[in-house]
Symmetry: C2
Subunit: 196 residues, 2 copies
């Protein structure tokens, strides 16, 4: 005898990453038991974020403009390559990085049927030739797919005379970049090594 509108809301919360039925139910009740203003602000925040936040045309970072502030202001001679836009936010905690980023929107994963053409490698090559990039820092996750993707890109870039480095494995194997702390990230950046 659960009301249909509650079920609909629960279903939406369940679509969030890692949320099961019980948790979604708790979230839904918290909305229903909260104020009408809160529900409206919440609802508006979802629509606004989705409507106004897009991807930077240059690097793929989240932004509400055509070109993100990082691409506008920073050194284009160094590109840090990440898997997802959210990884940029993690990397940005390292205050002394002054280069730009490139989001691949995925990693090479033969098991999941994702090859080099399914992620933004062509766009990376284009930027490298256009901007006279000197160093590409591979900051994909320290896992099998992240490593494979870094290797693949290094192999392509080497003949072009571009230095390709990889975040040092100071970040624990099998972990997710998104959850790494600043110190670990800073050390990993500092001890980055060339892929040969």
């Amino acid at each position: 005898m659960q009301e249909e509108l509650i079920e609909k809301l629960i279903e939406q919360f369940r679509s969030l990453p890692g949320v099961g039925y019980k948790t979604a139910q708790r979230y839904a009740y918290s909305i229903i038991e909260g104020s009408k203003e809160r529900a409206q602000v919440f609802s508006q925040a979802i629509v606004d974020a989705k409507a106004k936040i897009g991807f930077c045309e240059e690097c793929g970072n989240f932004t509400d403009r055509k070109i993100c502030p990082i691409c506008e202001r920073r050194d284009h001679k160094v590109i840090c390559v990440v898997k997802e836009p959210r990884d940029i936010i993690s990397m940005e905690k390292v205050k002394n990085y002054n280069g730009v980023y490139h989001v691949l929107f995925g990693t090479i994963s033969p098991l999941n049927g994702r090859g080099p053409d399914d992620i933004k490698i062509r766009e990376l090559l284009h930027r490298i030739s256009k901007d006279g990039v000197q160093e590409v820092i591979m900051a994909t996750n320290p896992d099998v797919e992240g490593d494979a993707t870094a290797m693949y890109i290094a192999k392509i870039l080497k003949p072009l005379g571009v230095k390709v480095t990889r975040l040092a494995q100071g970040v624990a194997m099998g972990s997710d970049l998104e959850y790494a702390d600043e110190v670990t990230l800073a050390r990993a950046l500092e001890a980055r090594r060339e892929i040969d």
Copy 2:
């Protein structure tokens, strides 16, 4: 360099029960990375649930009508008293209960300054006199406040000739005796029944 609109969305997700910053961030990214349709449906579900779901005027259950389907169709001679509307959904999993409910919207808690007048006890008394109720099942939580509230209500109802029962307390089905606390075990022992 986190965008303001993302921060606003993260803040909203953080307002949900048990959600910290990292989790809220993951939820927010999932919205931004998802489709525009999904964001709209999600947003609408929040507003709709809040706007249209209220409390049943009779029992306090969540409903989008004046009187909920349970109150409309079921036996008013038995009332199951719960703390919160969500408890009704738990109780409804017991398929063979055919009575109605009464939501107290809280429990008596002197430590938190909540007395009998702060929860819906008066409304319960009114329903009992109006509907000729024969049994009141106290299904408040098996904790100090839930027990105290059950005791208090039982004391009031006894003189009115209403049978007041309490959900049996004991070791939970499928649980492990090794991990049961002393209070639970003591109650289970006290309420032991002959095997026939």
